[in-house]
Symmetry: C3
Subunit: 445 residues, 3 copies
C-alpha cells in the first residue's frame, strides 16, 4: 500500500487552500434537502470528481420515512410601506426559513413577528432555521435588524415551490482490490454555512481525489447527501451493499479552529474507532474522543440498531457547542485552510492505518529469530539501549501469532502504527513473517 507514504506527501497548506476555495465557490448557493441548489452543488463537485447524481422521486417510501416534496425558491423579501426590502433573500439565503411554503401578502408588524427568528444573544447574526416536515413559513434576521422594524404594513413574498419532484444525492464509488468498502459520508443540504457542512464536503472531495490516484486494498464509497432523509434514503435503497461496508466516517464541521473530535461508532470498539483513536493519540495535537450517542449527524442512521455499521464521525468543535453553529457567523472566515488541511491529513492517516492493518504470522516463532545475521540488528552487543525500530521489530515478532493485528501491536507496545508497519515490512522481506490473510485471494472470492 502506498497510502502510508502519501499522507506525508500531501502539502496541507496548499491542499487546505484548495479546499477553502471550493467552500467559497459553494457558499452562495441556497441548498436544501431537495431542489436545484443541491443539484447545482453536486454539478460543481462533478468538476472535481466523477460522482453519479441520483434522483429519488417524491413519495418513495424509505423505511419509516417518505421522500418529501421538492422545494425550490427564486426570491423572497419583506418590504415596508416605502417598498424597501427590509429583509432580502438576495442578501443571504439564511433569511428565509428553509422549506418555507409560498406566501404573498400584506401583514402588520405583530403578525410578521410571529414568523421571525433571531438570536438575541448574538444580535448581529442571522439564525438558520428549517421547516422540512411541517408546512410553514418564516424569515430569519439579526436581532438588531428586527429591533429596527417599526409599526407598518409589510409586504411578504416568498417565491418558492413545494411540489412533487426528487431528492437528489451524489455518490462516488472508487473500486479497490477487494469488495470490502470504506464509506465516507457528508451532508450537503445546508445553505450558506461553511463549517456545517461545506467543510465536510471539501475534505471528502479532496480525500476522493487523492485516493483515486493510489493503490487501494479497500473500495471507497463517497456520499454527498441531504442530512437524515438522504442517509435514510441511501440505506433503504442499498441494503444489499451494507455487508460490504467494513468501516465508515461521517465528516462534518472539520474546518473551524477547535480541536479534533472523533465520535465512536455505536459498537464502540471497532477497528475504525481504534484506528482513529491511535492516529489522534499520536497526532501531537489536542483532540478528544467522544463515546457514541444517538444524537448528531448521519452516524445516527448508520448506527441505528438495524443497520449498526462501524461508522464513526470526525469533527472539530462538535455541533451545537460553538455559538456560530447554525448562524450566519458560520461563514468563510470561520473555516481555515490549515485546519481543513489538518483534518484531511488525519483522515488520510486513519485510512492508511486501515489499509495497512494486516495480521501476520511469525515464521520463526520459537525463540527470537537471529536478526543479526539478516542485518536487522546492532552488531556490537552490550549497548544500553536498543533503538525504537528494533523495539518495533521485537514487538511484531513477539505478537505475530496470528491473533494480533498491527494495530493490536501498536496499541500494546505504545509504538506508533507507522513504525510497527515498517518493522513488519522489513521482517516480511526477510521471510520472517507472512500475512495471515491473503488480501488478493479474498478479493477474488
Amino acid at each position: 500500500m502506498s497510502l502510508d507514504t502519501f499522507h506525508s506527501e500531501v502539502d496541507p497548506v496548499a491542499t487546505g487552500q484548495d479546499m477553502h476555495r471550493l467552500i467559497a465557490e459553494l457558499f452562495p448557493i441556497c441548498r436544501s434537502i431537495t431542489g436545484d441548489g443541491l443539484r447545482h452543488t453536486l454539478r460543481i463537485l462533478r468538476t472535481y470528481i466523477p460522482l453519479e447524481m441520483r434522483e429519488v422521486p417524491t413519495g418513495t417510501q424509505v423505511f419509516d420515512w417518505t421522500v418529501p416534496k421538492e422545494w425550490n425558491i427564486r426570491d423572497a423579501f419583506v418590504k415596508n410601506s416605502r417598498s424597501e426590502r427590509v429583509i432580502d433573500f438576495a442578501k443571504s439565503n439564511l433569511h428565509v426559513v428553509n422549506y418555507s411554503i409560498p406566501v404573498q401578502r400584506r401583514i402588520s408588524l405583530s403578525e410578521l413577528k410571529e414568523h421571525l427568528y433571531t438570536i438575541p444573544e448574538h444580535p448581529d447574526w442571522i439564525p438558520y432555521r428549517t421547516t422540512y416536515y411541517k408546512e410553514s413559513w418564516g424569515f430569519c434576521l439579526s436581532h438588531r435588524q428586527m429591533e429596527g422594524l417599526t409599526e407598518d404594513e409589510y409586504e411578504i413574498s416568498i417565491d418558492s415551490t413545494l411540489k412533487d419532484g426528487h431528492l437528489t444525492y451524489g455518490e462516488y464509488f472508487l473500486p479497490g482490490d477487494t469488495q470490502d468498502e470504506i464509506l465516507i459520508s457528508c451532508h450537503a443540504c445546508h445553505p450558506s454555512l461553511c463549517n456545517d457542512n461545506l467543510s465536510g464536503i471539501a475534505v471528502a472531495v479532496s480525500l476522493a481525489k487523492h485516493l483515486a490516484s493510489l493503490p487501494r486494498h479497500y473500495s471507497y464509497r463517497f456520499l454527498f447527501i441531504p442530512g437524515t432523509i438522504g442517509a435514510i434514503t441511501w440505506l433503504a435503497l442499498n441494503e444489499d451493499k451494507l455487508p460490504h461496508i467494513k468501516h465508515g466516517l461521517v465528516l462534518s464541521g472539520v474546518g473551524d479552529d477547535g480541536k479534533l473530535h472523533y465520535k465512536k461508532s455505536r459498537r464502540g470498539n471497532t477497528e475504525i474507532d481504534r484506528a482513529a483513536s491511535h492516529v489522534l493519540q499520536h497526532s501531537g495535537t489536542p483532540y478528544e474522543l467522544l463515546e457514541f450517542s444517538p444524537y448528531g449527524y448521519d452516524e445516527r442512521q448508520y448506527c441505528s440498531p438495524g443497520i449498526n455499521l462501524a461508522v464513526g464521525r470526525l469533527s472539530r468543535t462538535p455541533h451545537g457547542t460553538f455559538p456560530e453553529y447554525h448562524t450566519s457567523a458560520d461563514n468563510l472566515e470561520f473555516v481555515h485552510p490549515d485546519k481543513l488541511g489538518e483534518s484531511l491529513a488525519v483522515c488520510m492517516k486513519i485510512l492508511s492505518l486501515l489499509e495497512n492493518n494486516g495480521t501476520f504470522v511469525n515464521l520463526s516463532p520459537k525463540c527470537e529469530p537471529q536478526l543479526g545475521k539478516r542485518g536487522l540488528y546492532r552488531m556490537i552487543g552490550g549497548q544500553s539501549e536498543a533503538g525504537l525500530n528494533e523495539m518495533a521489530m521485537l514487538w511484531v515478532l513477539n505478537l505475530s501469532d496470528g491473533s494480533h493485528s498491527l494495530l493490536d501491536i501498536a496499541e500494546r507496545s505504545g509504538i506508533r502504527f507507522e513504525s510497527v508497519q515498517r518493522a513488519a515490512k522489513a521482517l516480511k522481506e526477510q521471510l520472517l513473517l507472512r500475512e495471515k490473510f491473503d488480501f488478493v485471494s479474498t478479493a477474488a472470492g
Copy 2:
C-alpha cells in the same frame, strides 16, 4: 406498573414519623433470638401487616446449626448490701447479657467484676452483649456506674429460663403477577436498640404496607427473623423457594443520619446491585457503594456459596463504624423520621426500577423512525439542543435491539431510569417498541 408514580407520592415526612412511632412502640421490649420478646414484637407488627408467625422447635437441625433452647427473662438485678438495686434490668434490658442463664447468689465485688461489661471510652453508655452459644451470664453497665461500685457483698439475680422451646420468626408473602420473588429481610432479635435494627423493621413494614396496595410484577417475601440463626433456619426449611428469589435486600441500620450505603451481593453485578447503584447515583444525596464481604448481617447467609442469592444490603452508617453501635446510645434520638423516610424512598425507587426494568425491541430498527409525524419531536429544526426526553427516546430506540434492558440503557446514556422508562412507554404507545418478554405469560408458566 405504578410503583413508579408511587414513590413520588409517598410523603416521606409523614411516613417517617409513622416509622419512628413504630420504633418507639417496639423499643422497650427485651427481644432475643428466641422467646417471648420476639413473639411480642411480631404480634405488634401483625397489627400493621398480616404476617405469619412461624415456630421452629429447639433441636431442629438447620444445615450446620441446631435451633437453640428458648430463652426468657422476667427480671434481673444486682443489689448491694443495703438492698439497693445498683444494676436493674427493669431500667434497661441491656443491663443483662442476652441469653444469660439463671443465677441467684451472693458474691464479692471482685467476683462480680468478672461478669461486668462496660465501655471505658464512652463512660455513660451501656454496652449490648450476648452469649447465645455458650452458657454463661453477665451484666452490662456504664463505666461510670461500675466505677461507683464499692467493696461489698452483692446479691445477684437473673430470673431467666433457658429450655426447650421454639425459635420464632415472622413471614409475610405478597403475591405478584409472577412467581419470581423479591426478598426483604431484617433481623428482629435485638433488644432496646433503635437503629440496629428497629429501623430496618420499621422500613420493611412500611414497604410491605405500601406494596400491598400496588400492582406488582414480582411477588414479595418479607422476613422478620433473628439474626444469623433465623436466616439459616429459614433457608434450611425453604430450599425449594430459593429458585424463585430473583433479588433481595437486607435492611439494617437505616435510621441514623449518616449517608446511605449499599453493599453489593457476593456476585457483585446482579440486577439489584446495578439498580441500587443507579438509584443512589441519581439520588442527589451522598452515598457509598460497598463491595461484598462475608462479614455483616444476614447477607452473609443469603450470599454463602451454596445459597448465593442476588441479595444486597441497604444501610446508612455501616454497623461497627459508629460509636453508638451496640450500646444504649442507639436509642430513639439516634434515629430520625426524615432519614427513615429517605431510606424508604430509596427502597421504593430500587423496587420500582426492578419492577419496570423491561427489555424492548425497536420495531423500526433500520434508521431512526420519524418521530415528528408521531408528535414526539420538535417541529422546527435547526435548534442547537434537543431536550432530555428526546435524548431518552433516541437512546431507547438505539439500544432496544433485544439485548439491552432499560437499566442497561440508563447506565450507558447516563440518563436517570425514570426518564428512560417514560420514553419507552411513549414509544410503546406509538407502536415503535414491543416488550421482549411478556411478563403475564411468564407468570402463567
Copy 3:
C-alpha cells in the same frame, strides 16, 4: 508444605553474606557465552549444588540459530613503544571486547583508536562490550586512560582462540511431588560484572540449596546458561519438557540497592504474575510491576510466541537504567548482602505462594458453618469488630466453591496470602474444607 514457614526462618543477613562471598569468588573469572571461564564458573557452583554440566557442540542448529564457535582467551594487552602494558587484560577482563578474534601486530594510535571503546560520561569506568556474532576485536578502557595515550607505535596482542568446541551450561533438577515444574533461569555469561549477573547466580544457588531441604509440591529446574543463545539452545533441545513448566522466573540484577521490579510474562496475568504482584504488594518495601515487553533478558525467549511460557523476571533496578550497567562500576561494592537477602526472601515467598495456592471446596456451603462450636470464633457476641483471622476464615469459606484458589481469595479480600493459607489450614483440620485437587494423585498420573 513447609516452604511457608521456611522463608521466615532464613536469616537474610547471613544468607546475604554467603551470597556476596560466592559473587566475590566468581568475580575474577573471564566468562563468555562459551569457553573455559563459563566451565570454571559452573564447576565452582557444583561445590554448592549438584548441577549437571551440559556441552553442546559448535554448529548445532537450535531453532533459527547455530551454536557458535567456542572462545577462549589467555592474555591480551596493548604495549607502547617502551613495552609498557598500557591496556592489560590481566588487570580487568573487561579490557578485551568479549569474543575478540586473535590479533598480534603493531599499529599507530589512530588505527588503535578505531578499536577502542570508552564511556566519556563516566571517564573512570571501563565499558563491557561483546562481538559474539561478528568476527572482530577491540579493547575497552576508561576514557581518562584513552586520553592519556600518546602518538606512538603500539603492540597489540589478543591471545584468544575461536574454534569449534562446545557451548556449556549448567542444569539442576530437583524433583517434587509432581512432574509440574517451576523454572529458575539466570544467565552466567558475563565476565567481571556483579549485579549483571553474578547476583542472579548467587540467588539461584541459594534458592536451590534451600529448596533441596524442603518438601516440594513442584519440581524445580535451575538453569545457569549463557544469555540468549543458552536459553535458545536449552529450549530447542528440551521441547518435550516445556508442557511441564507451569511457572518460571528469570533472575537478573538482584543485588543493587534499587527497588524490586517484577516484569510480567507475555501472557500478563498468569499465576506467577499474580503471585509476584501479591507478594510485592504485601512486602512493605517499594516495588514496581512492569508489563511484559520483548526486550530484556531470557524472558524474551521463554515468552516468544511459539514458546509462551508463564515466565516472569525478578530484578532490582532494571538493566540499562542505571549508569553502572555493563561497566566496571558494576563491581563488588555495587551489590549488597542485605539486598541479595531481600531478593532471595521475595523469591521464597513467591514460590511458597505457588506451592500453597490450593483450591478448596467448602463442605458446608449452605449458610455459614457454626465456627463457634469448633472453637474458631469469638464466644461473646456483639463486639464491634471481628479479628483479621476470622475475616480470613469467612472469606475462605465464602469463596471456596471450587472456582477460587487461595490467591483468588487473597486478591479479592485484600488479606495477605499467608493469613488466607492459615485460615484454610484451620478450616481443613475442622473438616470444613477439602482440597479440590489431590496433588499426590496428580503426581502419580
